[in-house]
Amino acid sequence: MASSKTTRGAEVGEADGGKQPMEKSVEKSATTAGAGHPGQDLAGLEAGLDALDAVQTKRVSPTEVLVQKVLPPIVAVVFVLALWKVLVLAEVTPDYKLPDPGLVWDSLRELWLRGELLDIIWTSVSRGLFGFLIALAIATPLGLVVARVKFIRAGLGPILSGLQSLPSVAWVPPAVIWLGLNDQMMYTVILLGAVPSIANGLVAGIDQVPPLFLRAGRTLGARGLVSARHILLPAALPGYVAGLKQGWAFSWRSLMAAEIIAKSPDLGLGLGQYLENQRNNSDMAGVLLGILLILVVGIAIELLIFAPIERRVLRSRGLLASAH
């Protein structure tokens, strides 16, 4: 023991001055390792273990994606259309209540040929997305503060959760009285619907951050805002993204409620107004078209924007089943 102690002492002394302990001692380890089992052995053993234990990442082929992901929804849609057609052919109800799918298609074509289709969709989508972005800008700091400051959480937490269960249609009448029939009113209704759900998502995401990450961050020297930026927010990202998805759904729903209820020539023609106009014209094919468009646009935005973000976040962390 005495001899081994002195060598250790000497080495530390050198490391103190030289500050290059790593390179220097490689030769040392080579000599000591030569005594019993060569260092080469250990390296080889380790490489073998790594190869045996390494997690295999399987790439999914395009055909598999087609069969597993794309085909089922197509089959489902075809099934619904077929059922619809059968009900129409069986004349279960007069056709002013359930028009032929073909008539809905005709309404769509007509709207397209008049050049109004994209305008109507864009009016609603631009409102929805812009409102969503404002909601995002408000809800993110709000969620952070609610999650991290105990007093604010005790006060605002229950209100935020409660607001989430309040149907946003309920905000339309007060918003009309406060702001009149204009775009501001629409955005207000969107915000009241989307802000609580985005903020709640962030709060839930932060609550689920394993305390171990925060401890590990602290030992690495991350505190306060640095810790929030490098540890807390990235760790809470999956919950936050789930909140964003839900926030978009709430934005879109709130907006449609506002568009259906609030009518004014000052407001451009959006999907909600289109739907309400067709009801006034007793044009059931148009009404169904309106509903389908609202549905399709909502799904499309989720699939095109939010689903890829969520998939990326989850896959990079190994949280998606398909990553294995």
Binding site: M1, A43, L52, G221
Partner: protein, 273 residues
């Protein structure tokens, strides 16, 4: 608990400033009369009682004990994640590196970026981070793993990346809290060898907590046995077996038997109370 023993947290600062009066030489850890209790004052449960320990620069010390001996609490105190109820802890300038039983790597970063984050939080300039991270990965023999995601690595590889991240702090002291407890026996054996090699290459002081007697004897220059509830230092052994050792060595087994007897005696005491 004596009220005369006051917390002397400021010692860290003075040690950092190189005050000549401080007891700890550069690179050593010194723990003097440390008590730690949890709970309300009055009804506080003592977890650590009068811990006195010095880790010399470059020394490898294993702290051994059954559950409830406050091993992890002691490491948290040294790592400044918690405050002692009384007593003084001195560590070398800079924050001690700490490695956990769970790898605690951040899953949103690649293996290399985990190490680079540690370098960044330490203030290493951007241009230096990548090459340094590569060198550290080389040190733990994971040269090709820079771009690998945490979930793509095996348990042993994760702990090696965690070790590299801890070493990135360039601390004179490495605290390890049962870092290999969750690994299979083959991998653990290899990592023992790896840790011994890296310890002798870097000259870092290691304070290694475990409940595995053989692991302690396999690795340490000195084994410290803690009693449970509250944790108190019961006995110390200098391990005279020359490195490189193997966990199967007869000398390792002999000392392990002796230490295990003592540990069992400690545990039995709790059944009699």
């Amino acid at each position: 608990m004596s009220p005369a023993l006051t917390t002397e947290k400021d010692d860290r600062a003075s040690a950092a400033a190189g005050s000549p009066g401080s007891a700890g030489a550069a690179g050593s850890v010194s723990i003097a009369h440390v008590h730690k209790a949890f709970g309300r004052p009055g009804a506080a449960q003592p977890v650590l009682e009068d811990i006195n320990l010095r880790v010399r620069p470059g020394e490898f010390v294993c702290i051994l004990g059954a559950s409830g001996c406050g091993k992890s609490t002691l490491l948290n105190l040294i790592a400044d994640l918690d405050e002692p109820s009384s007593g003084a802890i001195e560590v070398p300038a800079g924050r001690p590196a700490l490695m956990f039983q769970e790898h605690a790597l951040f899953p949103w970063l690649t293996a290399g970026k985990n190490i680079e984050l540690a370098l960044r939080l330490r203030g290493v300039p951007r241009a230096d981070r990548r090459p340094r991270a590569e060198r550290l990965l080389e040190l733990v023999r994971l040269s090709g793993a820079h771009g690998k995601r945490v979930h793509e690595l095996s348990g042993g590889m994760r702990q090696r990346v965690a070790l590299a991240r801890a070493l990135a702090q360039d601390s004179r002291v490495l605290l390890m809290d049962e870092p290999f407890a969750a690994l299979d026996a083959i991998t653990r054996d290899v990592l023992h060898e790896e840790l011994t090699r890296i310890w002798s290459e870097t000259g870092v002081s290691v304070l290694f907590v475990t409940h595995n007697v053989r692991e302690a004897v396999r690795l340490a220059e000195r084994v410290v046995l803690l009693s449970s509830r509250p944790g108190r230092i019961v006995r110390e052994w200098e391990v005279d077996i020359p490195q490189p050792r193997r966990i199967e060595d007869a000398a390792v087994a002999d000392l392990s038997v002796e230490i295990t007897e003592e540990l069992r005696g400690e545990i039995r005491r709790h059944g009699q109370q």
